[in-house]
Symmetry: C2
Subunit: 243 residues, 2 copies
């Protein structure tokens, strides 16, 4: 057991949770490696929500609230780490939730759907069709879900898929700790923050959004400014790291 | 299949290999996440051997050649990614090889020993005893192996174990892509390079070591200078990354 006063308690707990979900087939080996990459960038960013990330989170909330058909795309790692936070965000934003997997099998979709439903998430069900401009089976999604959404929140998404959604004219909100990743660069808005910190912040911003605030937020900095701010944080943290 | 002309071919191949070894129980879920952290740092360092890393690799070769009882400590990730390179380094340096696992079970030790032997490595066998100043079962090692070694090469080692070996008075050579890790800071010499690039470089340096060169190398920069050089590389790479 990890002692709760361990300086990296949250990080170690997340790692344990993912390893357990990998044994159940909810998380893939590739998902574990991807989580490790995220951990490294979170370490560099200081394992905290930066000021610019918080602004991106409030902007994401404004985008979700202003969207007539927003969808949250959930993969194995997201379900394993944040099923409860997805349920909260769904209630606060009114967005629909679709399970969308890079390593897609019917069995994994079903397992993850059940995990989310047990946490109180309403999950879209139906027959997935190859509707995205990607090679099969990565093209699969629901016609009444991601395909017809105008805004898609993709926590922890692969770069090709993020680019495909943008090319379809959708507004794509990514949560990605690597400000240099293809996903971070391709998205309409990138939140450079750790998933379990970012989701409650978006939910809180949805709940507290004042009148006219959404419009102001959505006219705020463009994506590249958010990425530059994250890079500046990392460079600043590295400056004296070995002193 | 990954196309060989993919810009990140080597990295993707390594990830596939580890995922396959995870399914066989050679690599642990925690090992996959650790690999992901390494990938992130390798990306930041430019996925190439820096000049200072090459100097550290030549220094490591000098330390191994000058040591009357050097041991290479091999874990699951190392065996999965570099069994052949370990065999070559063993032949070039004369070092002994011991399997040493963070998540140790008799079955994993046996599987990894067989994987190494199939690649031509001579692996120490025997009854492991709790000889390291760590809690059981992480204290386990062979009396005629790591316990009595004067120099230990630990590719991809955990920080506590690296510190324990140093506290026993051993010269510890670490291969670690994170210049800020506890392992990197605790080791006598840290090679900040990716495993499958580092090992052949050490082997090459063992084979080409000129007379008197080893002494010169071993009087070269101390560990903190190697770590600072790696940090400078990373910061330089980040400087214009978003231009």
């Amino acid at each position: 057991m990890i002692p709760p006063d361990h300086p990296r308690y949250r990080s170690l707990l997340a790692r344990e949770r993912l390893a357990a979900c990998a044994r159940e087939g909810i998380v893939t080996p590739e998902g574990l490696a991807a989580h490790g990459r995220g951990e490294a960038f979170d370490y560099l960013i200081g394992e905290r929500t930066t000021e610019s990330a918080l602004l991106a989170e409030r902007t994401a909330a404004a985008m979700l609230l202003s969207s007539p058909s927003a969808v949250i795309s959930v993969n194995g790692n997201t379900a394993a780490l944040a099923a409860g936070s997805i349920a909260e965000l769904q209630r606060a934003s009114g967005a629909r939730v679709e399970v969308s997997l890079f390593h897609r099998t019917g069995e994994r979709v079903e397992k993850i759907t059940r995990l989310l439903e047990a946490a109180g998430v309403g999950v879209l069900r139906g027959r997935a069709e190859p509707l995205l401009p990607l090679s099969h089976p990565r093209a699969l999604c629901l016609r009444e879900g991601i395909f017809s959404a105008d805004t898609v929140l993709v926590p922890l998404e692969d770069g090709d898929r993020c680019g495909a959604l943008v090319s379809m004219g959708k507004r794509v909100i990514a949560i990605d700790l690597n400000p240099l990743s293809r996903t971070a660069r391709a998205a309409t808005l990138t939140i450079v923050d750790e998933l379990t910190r970012a989701l409650p912040n978006i939910t809180g911003a949805c709940r507290g959004m004042g009148p006219g605030e959404g419009e102001r937020l959505m006219s705020s900095p463009d994506n590249i400014s958010f990425l530059r701010a994250a890079m500046d944080e990392i460079r600043g943290n590295l400056e004296h790291a070995l002193d």
